[in-house]
């Protein structure tokens, strides 16, 4: 039971990573990041069932912070779009050495 949950979690995490690495749209990147967070949440829950309740506490915390982060992140994306007229990150290269 736990093995299946961990495999699903790993698959979800890798999908998130690949999405972050390959896609350039800020919103998709954001969604992929959420996907990774939730993959981790899944494994926390699985381990919590196996050991003790501490894992649940972390999941609640991650969800809270992810919600706050979504609010801040989406706000930033909206202002980026207002400023540059695009959310394609490969076009936003003003910060370079």
């Amino acid at each position: 039971m736990i093995a299946e949950a961990l495999v699903v979690s790993a698959i979800l995490f890798v999908i998130g990573v690949v999405g972050v690495l390959t896609r350039r749209n800020a919103i998709i990147l954001f969604m992929c990041a959420e996907l990774m967070l939730n993959a981790v949440n899944l494994s926390f829950v699985a381990f919590a069932k196996m050991h003790n309740v501490t894992g649940h506490v972390f999941v609640i915390m991650v969800m809270t912070i992810a919600a706050a982060e979504a609010a801040v992140g989406l706000a930033i994306i909206i202002s980026i779009f207002r400023h540059f007229g695009t959310v394609d990150l490969s076009k936003l290269r003003t910060l370079r050495g």
């Binding site: 990573v17 972050v20 690495l21 350039r24 990150l89 490969s90 290269r93 370079r96 050495g97």
Partner: protein, 675 residues
Amino acid sequence: MIAALLPLLILLPVLGFLVNGAIALTRSSSVGDAGTGTARHPLVTVVGPGVILASFALAVALFMRVRVGLPAPAIVSLGEWMPVGNLVVDWTLQLDQLSMLMVLVITGVGSLIHLFSIGYMRDDAGYARYFAYLNLFVAFMLVLVLGGSYPVMFVGWEGVGLASYLLIGFWFSDKANADAGKKAFVVNRVGDFGFLVAMFLMWTTTQKLDFVGAHTALAGLAGSGVVLAIALFLFVGCAGKSAQLPLYIWLPDAMAGPTPVSALIHAATMVTAGVYLVARAAPIFAGAPEASLVITAIGALTALFAATIALRQWDIKKVLAYSTVSQLGYMFVGVGAGAYTAGVFHLVTHAFFKALLFLGAGSVIHAMHHAYHQAHRHDDPQDLRNMGGLAKYMPATATAMTLATLAIAGVPPLAGFFSKDEILASVFSRAQGSPLASASLLGVPGSAVLYVVYGLGVVTALLTAIYMTRLLLLAFYGDNRTGEGAREALREAPAIMTVPVLLLGVLTVAGGWLNLPALIPIGPVGLLEHWLEPVTGASAKLLAGAGHLDHTTELILVSVATGVALVGMAIAFVAYRKPIADKANSPEDSGLLARAYGVDALVDAVIVRPVQALASVVLARGVDRGVDRGFSAGGSLLTRTAALMGARLQDGDIGKYAWMLAAGALALIAALTLS
């Protein structure tokens, strides 16, 4: 009592150095007002000569104690200096008859010269600094003669070199003076290398560096190659410090310092340190007759060489400087021939009359300088051609100088006659039947070497009489050539300067009584011989062997010495009978002797200029600038390249950052799981 007084003897001049040095430092802001006399601090006048007089008083107290009897040297240990493995060097002082004699000469003559300096340096802006250095010199000189082991002696040896350097370059704002100081220091380093190698050899051979221990151990190895090597390397040190061929070149230049400095350091005490060292290490030299032959031969050659140069110098101090080199050669002839008493005797009498000659010359230069200053002329106050007839203006100085000239020329019964005669007689007596005579030097039998040395000594005595009489005649007698306007301003020096000179005059006359020969028993015979017997007696006997002189030979030798002195003086009288022109009206003297055989030019061409070229071309332009480019320019290039590469990574592409992050995380996980 000895244990308590010995350190005090050295600490007094150190105290003087600290006090005067502190005054010099706090008053250095007023250096600009030279000539006004405001630089003179009354405390300096009291402390500077005061500590040396106090040291002299202590030395006399010690002498009273030693006189009662001191069968073995008194050794005082002041604590550990260098405990390194099985090499343990202590701060030890050693008082025996030889160091007692040296201490008396150093503090006695030193006191007179310090007193003279009050007058000589009175208007100098560096008055306090001068006495600080002079006190420092006496302190180190006392360490040199009181040190109980070779390393402690070496501390004094280097210390007097430092003080000499500081005082030669005392008026350092003139580059020539600073260069003269540097030259003295560098040439002395060449000699110090010999001293150091001798100490290394001594340590590796005997594991001992203190006088008593090392001498006992080396006496057991007498005649071996290592003792010969130690003796020769020690003599390299002596040749540097005591200005013998070929390391004498620094001494004539050292005259750039104030004249009392020349009297104290470059005539009476420091330059005789080499003679002291040979007498101190007598047990070593007695075990290496070949080395002793080398010393006596080099001494004789130096004596003759320097005396010829002194014949044609016009600077009054240069004449005296070459004369000092020549007389030091005499001393080495004595100690080299194993006549340690004779060498040390000449050291003492020479300290008296040469200090007098230098102080007298100082009075003359002082008077000439003031006369030219008042007449607003810029002539050379040290040139003999500008003097003449000074006896009329400076009677006391002239009297004392005449006495000293007679003494150095070897006219009986003045001090120089006895000491010089004893050296020559000792050389002559050792030419037959002594270990020196049976040893050989580069295939030449020792007895032939000694006869040649005797001959050179006699010729040198003749030359000495000539050049000293020449100096006396040119400076003090005949017509005055100082020039109108300046002549009227010539004055005898103040009492603070003439009294020390006259006291030295008394010593110059009476000094011979220290060690009268049995042949001329006008007083107690052989006092010094008897006094030094516990220190050098055994070594002297070893080298003298069966050599001795019968009464007739001795009488002939004395007559030869006296005759030579009188003939020399007569030659000078004849040669300098006619009036000469003053410096401005004389052609430039470019004779071989006036240029001192061109040795300085030769050294300049062969050593100084190649070294400077090496420094400026290879080292400065090559190595220095190479390092400059390689390290600073190269370093900045490296940083800039790294920075550029780093900047390339940071190109604003978030995708690339994400890849790097992922790759880094993967690498980290891989490292953690795989290890």
